[in-house]
């Protein structure tokens, strides 16, 4: 405990104290350390944010705070004191009684974590009834009150629905109600909004924060999203490779991070490129309407212009049709109507009709480099195939070009013999970029290429893409749901919603007010690093709602 934070700790007495926690996970026939000696403490009513990249051990610590290790994991060392009780020393039955009654958990994927066979209400009150805290009737009535407080629609009847009958955002709030049902002293939130769209996320964050404050519940909030944790936590702990990097009160941490690693996490958010207007257009999409076989239209009357040598960011939430747009451009999904022209020529509708040279000039990079690389092909095979296929390069000429491409993506030639399974996520994405570049394309469609990567790696990939654009004048269509990415890379922005284009224009035009109503909603919902952002946003929205009502 650092003395500089003590001023903020007056909220309550000490609730949780974890000392020298070590957790190991079993894989590849042996035990590997996941958490290596972490200390943390929490007072009543306090919210601690655990933040870090993938593999930092943040979820594992969250679960360990409940005295629980996932199947295949074990707590090897350390002590966990909850309200003076040693969780690791007590009997399993006693620990079980504690879980659900005094410590509760909210999982990342509510859709998978609710049992599909039971009604929401029955699952919400299960612990209350099982631990004999209240009668079923009283518990049901209380659950409905909780649903109302969490702003669930139809709070008196929604409990009688089954999990598959309600939306993801509602499920996440129902899960919070389930955790609250016993009025626990501590709730562990494990990335509760990661799977949600930003506009939904705002509502869930607001509900969670309100109810945690109302009941003065202590919470551990696990997330990889700095802006989110800034809204939720009183105190933030930064983790890396299972160790604590630093820990501080939220405002202080945001204002003046002490460690280099923390600063690199912060810096990523500030990447921004000045836009450059385009001289002419490479790709013109005219009134495209598209639908999957026998289903409703996914794209309606979409028209977009892609400038040569520039980046168009296509922004939208899930269901906006942005990925379908990529499938139409590449010819995987022939449009129902409308046309696309590429470099002055009309593009054939289907993939089969397109000549090889057209295919070469439009390349694609995917969201998940794991899925986009054949796990049985070496890096060399992956990169050299387009060279051989499109350009007819063989032997020494091909080897030389592969070497150049590796140089361009800033990777060592030693990697050429590796299989994708032996590379990190960022390295894999670089190989995908090299594969696209090998074709000497004029247009690269980037479908959420950074969203599966950790923040720091995202920044490196974005910088690489920008540098390659400057060097080779290639155009990007950058499909993303992340506004920070748009700021970082776009010249022009297209906002999509439910299969339609809402707005299109230069980045500054779109990102500065006045906005179209949907763009306004989308932009205002993106969490900012300001700890007061959520409070201000809710106030603004409330004012508008009242204003509209009057």
């Amino acid at each position: 405990m650092k003395s500089k934070n003590s001023g903020q700790r007056e909220k309550g007495t000490k609730l949780l104290s974890v000392r020298n926690l070590h957790v190991e996970g079993f894989s590849d026939e042996r035990w590997h350390p996941i958490v290596r000696g972490v200390d943390l403490s929490l007072k009543r009513g306090e919210v601690l944010g655990l933040i870090g990249e993938s593999g930092a051990g943040k979820s594992t610590i969250g679960l360990a705070a409940m005295g629980y290790a996932k199947p295949g994991c074990r707590i090897t060392q350390g002590s966990i004191l909850f309200d003076g009780i040693d969780l690791l020393a007590m009997a399993e039955t006693a620990r079980r009684r504690l879980r659900g009654s005094r410590i509760a958990y909210v999982a990342q994927s509510a859709a998978a974590s609710f049992n599909p066979a039971h009604r929401l209400l029955d699952q919400t009150v299960e612990t209350v009834v099982a631990h004999g805290i209240a009668s079923r009737e009283a518990a049901n009535r209380d659950a409905m009150k909780l649903y109302r407080r969490l702003h669930l629609p139809d709070p008196d009847t929604i409990g009688f629905r089954y999990p598959h009958q309600v939306s993801g955002g509602q499920l996440q709030r129902a899960m919070t109600a389930m955790a609250m049902a016993c009025r626990p002293d501590l709730i562990v939130f494990d990335e509760p909004t990661t799977a949600l769209d930003v506009t939904t996320q705002v509502e869930v964050l607001a509900s969670i924060r309100k109810i945690v404050e109302e009941f003065n519940t202590a919470a551990i909030y696990v997330t990889h999203d700095l802006a989110v944790v800034a809204q939720m936590a009183n105190r933030i702990m930064v983790l890396r490779h299972g160790r604590t990097v630093e820990e501080a009160e939220t405002r202080q941490m945001l204002a003046a991070p002490a460690e280099d690693y923390t600063r690199t996490l912060w810096a990523v958010r500030k990447l921004a490129k000045p836009e450059v207007p385009a001289a002419d257009h490479l790709l013109t999409i005219d009134n495209i309407t598209a639908a999957y076989a026998g289903k409703v239209k996914v794209l309606q009357d979409v028209s977009i212009k892609v400038p040569r040598g520039r980046t168009v960011a296509v922004v939208g939430e899930s269901g906006s049709g942005k990925s379908t747009l990529a499938r139409v451009i590449t010819g995987l999904l022939p449009p129902v109507s409308g046309s696309i022209s590429f470099a002055g020529h009309r593009l054939p509708r289907t993939l089969k009709e397109r000549p090889k040279d057209i295919l070469r000039r439009i390349q694609m990079i995917y969201q998940m480099p794991d899925n986009a690389l054949n796990p049985r092909q070496t890096v060399e095979e992956v990169i050299s195939r387009p060279l051989e296929f499109y350009l007819g390069l063989k032997g020494a000429a091909c080897d030389r070009r592969v070497g150049e491409l590796m140089h361009m993506i800033e990777m060592d030639e030693n990697f050429l013999d590796r299989l994708p399974g032996e590379l990190s996520g960022g390295q894999k994405q670089r190989i995908c970029i090299a594969r696209a570049l090998a074709a000497n394309p004029e247009l690269i469609i980037c479908d959420e290429v950074t969203s599966a990567l950790d923040q720091i790696v995202q920044e490196e990939i974005l910088k690489l893409l920008m540098r390659l654009q400057q060097e080779f004048g290639v155009s990007y269509i950058f499909i993303t749901h992340d506004i920070a990415t748009v700021r970082a890379i776009a010249d022009e922005v297209v906002v999509m919603h439910q299969g339609k284009v809402v707005e299109q224009g230069l980045k500054t035009e779109i990102l500065t007010p006045p906005h179209a109503p949907y763009t306004e909603l989308l932009l205002s919902s993106v969490p900012e690093m300001d700890p007061d952002w959520l409070t201000k946003l809710l106030e603004t929205r409330e004012r508008k709602r009242v204003g509209a009502a009057n």
Binding site: L351, R354, E413, G421
Partner: protein
Amino acid sequence: MTSTEHVVAVSRQRRTRASRVKTALKKAPFSAWFGIVVILGYVFVALLAPWIAPYGETQVFTEAFAPWSQEFIVGTDQLGRDVLTRLIYGARNTIGIAFATTLLSFAVGVTLGLLAAMYRGWLDQILSRAVDVLMSIPSLIFALMLLSIFGSSVTSLILIIALLDSTRVFRLARAVGLNVAVMEYVEAAQLRGEGPRWILTKEILPNVLPPLIAEFGLRFCFVFLTIAALSFLGVGIQPPTADWGSMVRENATLITYGDITPLLPAGAIALLTVSVNFVVDWFLHATSGLRDEK
């Protein structure tokens, strides 16, 4: 300079792969080792049958059901043929026919299954529905019916069992093929403009190989047991060809006198299938382990 680095890197890679196999073998449990040794033994006997066997396959001696002795180590059968000789030739015949059948069944099933997974659409629909219907009749029953029509020759036996078994191979190949065919690297190859041959052999096949190899072992066991059962029932491999299934039936009466001779061919069948199953079990475990490792 670059090329030497390259060579060094390649050899390092090769060594890691070889060593990976070696460590996997080293970690293999006793059951897997047992299986491997037994299978090698069977293959050895099957290949060298004419040189190992003490007598000719159909050579008849005067005494039927002779007891175990120096001359006939495990006695003679109902016609006075040496049982040990018949067991050795049986390895060659029974395993050979089962292996040929499994190969044929795989050639048909894997090809059609992967094509169905790749093209989907009407081809997949037709093949899948046809397989549904074929699989709605238990395969031994179907085989019995077809054999009653076409008669029990080795050719019709192989063709009928291979056809019936290929339906199961088809299902598996299609399922694993579909899992791979929806991967983005396959889509990337399509976008590149690659033809179906490249996509099938370079993108899909290498990734479905481990489950298919495991399945080959299991299907072999199944085919082997089916043929043995048919032969035991007297409608499979026909006399005078030496075959384990028929040998059990021919000598079955000895059991009632407490003589274990008929259990020998039955045990030979059991030992081989047990061994294959042990190896497959370990192989599945080892390959899934490699995948987890990433």
